[in-house]
Amino acid sequence: MMNKTAINTFDAIVVGSGISGGWAAKELTEGGLKTLVLERGRTVEHIKDYTTAFKNPWDFKHGTHLTKEELEERPIQSSHCDATDKHFYVKDSEHPYIQEKPFKWIRGYQVGGRSLTWGRQSYRFSEMDFEANEADGHGVDWPIRYADLKEWYDYVEEYVGISGTSEALPHLPDGVFLPPIPMNAIEKHLKESVSKHYQDRVLINGRVANLTEKKEGRGQCMYRNLCSRGCPFGGYFSSNSSTLLDAYNSGNLTLRENAVVKEVIYDDETKKAVGVKILDAITKEENTYYAKIIFLNASAIATASILLNSVSPSFPNGLGNSSLQVGHNLMDHVVNEGTYGTYNGLLDKYYEGRSPGTIYIPRFQNLNGNTEKTDFIRGYGIQGKGKRENWESKATEGIGVTLKAQLETPGKWRISLGGRGEVLPNYENKISLDLQNRDQWGLSLVKVHFEYGANDLAMMEHMTKASEDILLKAGFENVGSYRNSPPPGSAVHEMGTARMGNDPKTSVLNKYNQMHDVKNVFITDGSCMTSSGCQNPSLTYMALTARACQYAIRQFKTNLL
C-alpha cells in the first residue's frame, strides 16, 4: 500500500485553473507529466454547471438586478456582475482584502476562474511593447522580444479561435484569425469616418475569442451575447470548454477543487520547491502535495500573496524574493468611464443576432515620428460597440399607447467607446500581506496599494477627448462622456507582481517564466508581466504559458529540474 506522500506526489502542480492555469494543465499533461491542478473554488463542469445559460429574461425574478442583500455581500464585485452571472464571482463578504487606496479586485473562485467571464478581447503585444521599458527607462527590460513569442501566439490562437482581420499594423501584429464578426451599419459608418478624418488611426473589427466557425469539440458562436453565463455551445474560449477538457482526456490530470493554497514548500538543502501546502476550503483541513515542477497561475495578486506567505530560512521575505520585487509593480489598464453618442441616420438599417464582438481603434499615439506627440508616453486603444437603442437605452416620453409605440420600434443608433491605456510599472504600486488581519483560513489578508501616476491620468484625459472628437467628426449627436473614471482594478487586468527580467537583482522570473531563485517554480499568469502594453493581456499570458511549459517539460525530461 502506498503511503500518503506517494499518493500526494505528482510530476507537476498547477495552482489555479483560470485562463493561464488551464493552458499549463493542457500542455503539461499532454507532455506526459502527471499533473495536479489545485483550484481554490468549486467545480464548474462545462455545460452542466452553466445554470443560467438558457434562461430567458423572464426567468429572473428581478431581471438582471441584484437584490439589496446580494449587493451588500458584493460591494466590489457588483459593478462587474449581475443576477445572470453572479455565481461566477466571489462574495466580497467571504473573501475580504484591504484597499489602502481604492482598487477593485474582481475574482471568480471556481474551476475555470475568470476565463468563464473574461471579455475575450485578444490582441498580441508588438515589438514596440516588448521594447518599451528599455526605450523610455520605466521598469526593467523585458527578457524576450516579439520574435520569441510569435510562434506561441500562433499556437494558442489556432487553438483558442480568435475572430478578426489582418491589418498589417506594426504595433498590433496580425495573428491566426477566424473570419471576423462583421460590423453593423453604424460601426461601418464610424470606420469610414475615422479613415476619412484621420491620417493616424484606423477602426478595425475587435479580435475576440468567439468562434465564427466551429472547432473540434466546440460549436460556433450562436450570437446570443450571453457569454458570461458560460456557453453551452462552447462558442467562446474558456478553460472549462477547452484546455481542461484536453488535460482531462490526456489521462494525466488530477483536479483538486476547494484547495486554498497556503504556501509553496522550499527545501533549503536541494534549493528547490518540493510541494504545496493547501487548506481545504470547506473543512479547513491541511494537506500537502509534492511535485518536481510547480506552476503558479493563481492570478497576479493571489500568486504574489502565495509567494509572500511562503517563508523559509533561505527566503525570509517570501519565496524567490531575493530581489524584493515580489508584490511590487502592480499594474492594471487605465480605463475611462466611456463616451457615447447617438446618430440620427441609417434608420433603414438594422441587424439580426446579437454580436459578442466589438470594434477597435488600435493605439495611435506616440508610434513614430508621424503620429501625435502627446504629453504622455506610450498609449491607449479604444474599444466600442454600436447598436440601435431599444427599451433598455431609449429615453421615452409619456405613457400609454404613445409610450408603447416608442418601445416597440428600434430607436436611434448609439455607439459607446472606451479607452484602454498602458499603465507604467511603478515599484510603489504593490500588494503586501497584513500580518494582523486574517481570513477564515487563517491566512494573512492581502493589502493593495495602487495609485495612477501622472502619465496614466494624462492618458485618461486624452482618451476621453479623442473619443468625443471621433464621434463628433462622424456626425454623432448628444456626444458626452462620463467624467468619473472607475477605480483602478476595474479593467480586471491586474499584472506585474513577479515580473520577468534579465537581472535576478531587479526581477523575479527569467525569460522562461522560471524563478531566478527557485528553478522549478514557474509563474505564467499576469504576475510575470514586465510592462502592461495597452492590449488586453490574456492572449499573452496564454502564449507565455505554452512557451514556458514546453521549456519546463524539456527540463523535466532531461532531469534538469
Binding site: 438558457f54 430567458n56 429574461p57 423572464w58 429572473f60 425574478k61 428581478h62 431581471g63 438586478h65 441584484l66 437584490t67 439589496k68 442583500e69 464578426i181 462583421p182 460590423m183 453593423n184 451599419a185 461601418k188 458562436c221 450562436m222 450570437y223 446570443r224 451575447n225 434608420l347 433603414d348 438599417k349 438594422y350 441587424y351 439580426e352 443576432g353 446579437r354 454580436s355 447598436k387 440601435r388 431599444n390 427599451w391 433598455e392 437605452s393 421615452t396 416620453e397 409619456g398 405613457i399 400609454g400 399607447v401 409610450l403 408603447k404 418601445l407 416597440e408 420600434t409 428600434p410 430607436g411
Partner: protein, 190 residues
C-alpha cells in the same frame, strides 16, 4: 389648476410634502419592519402599470403580470428611502383620487386614470441639476420608479418580449446589416 396641483407645486418648491413627513417616520424607524407591504397594493399597482402600458393589439402590463415584477423589485432590490418613496406615492395617489374624483383609482374612468398619471409624469421628467441632486439625496421618485419598472418588467416579460418586441433566444447567426422591414419590431434583448 386644481387644488392638488397647486399644493403639489408648493411641495415641489419647498421639497417637503405630507407624504415625505410620514416618510421620515418610515426612514428613521426600524426599516425592515416596513417591508412586505406592497402585496396589499397589488391591484392598485396592476391598474397603474396597465395605464402606463395598456392592452392594445398586444397585451398590457396587467396581463403580463408586471405588478408582480414591480412588487418583487421594490421589496428586494431598493433602498429604504426608495421603498418609502414608493409606498408614500401609492398612498398619495389614493388620497388624490379620493379628493379629486371621490373614488379609488381602480374605480376611476380610463380618462381619469390617464389624467392622474400624466399629471405625475409631467412633474418628474426633469433632468435638471436640481432634480439630479434631489434624486441622490431622496432616492428616485415614486413615478420615476413606477414608470421605469413597468417598462422593464413588461419588456422582459414573456408576453412583452415576444409580442410587443421581437425575441430570439438563439439567433444562431449574425446578420450585421439588414434592411428594416415594415413595422419592424425592436429586439427585446441586446
Amino acid at each position: 389648476m386644481n387644488r392638488r396641483k397647486a399644493i403639489g407645486g408648493l411641495f415641489a418648491i419647498t421639497g417637503i410634502g405630507i407624504a415625505s413627513f410620514t416618510g421620515f417616520k418610515f426612514f428613521y424607524g426600524n426599516s425592515k419592519a416596513y417591508r412586505g407591504q406592497l402585496q396589499n397594493y397589488a391591484t392598485l399597482i396592476a391598474e397603474l402599470a396597465d395605464v402606463i402600458i395598456p392592452p392594445t393589439d398586444t397585451p398590457g402590463a396587467k396581463e403580463a403580470n408586471v405588478h408582480e415584477y414591480i412588487i418583487g423589485f421594490m421589496e428586494s432590490c431598493v433602498s429604504n428611502k426608495e421603498y418609502t418613496n414608493f409606498l408614500n406615492g401609492l398612498n398619495d395617489l389614493q388620497e388624490t383620487c379620493l379628493s379629486d374624483y371621490n373614488t379609488h383609482f381602480a374605480a376611476c374612468t380610463t380618462e381619469q386614470k390617464i389624467v392622474i398619471l400624466e399629471d405625475l409624469n409631467s412633474n418628474v421628467d426633469s433632468n435638471s441639476l436640481l432634480s439630479k441632486i434631489d434624486k441622490k439625496i431622496r432616492g428616485r421618485s415614486f413615478f420615476t420608479m413606477l414608470k421605469s419598472l413597468t417598462i422593464e418588467g413588461y419588456c422582459s416579460s414573456e408576453l412583452g418580449a415576444t409580442q410587443l418586441l421581437a425575441y430570439q433566444p438563439i439567433p444562431a447567426s449574425y446578420k450585421a446589416i439588414t434592411k428594416m422591414e415594415r413595422n419592424q419590431k425592436a429586439w427585446a434583448t441586446s
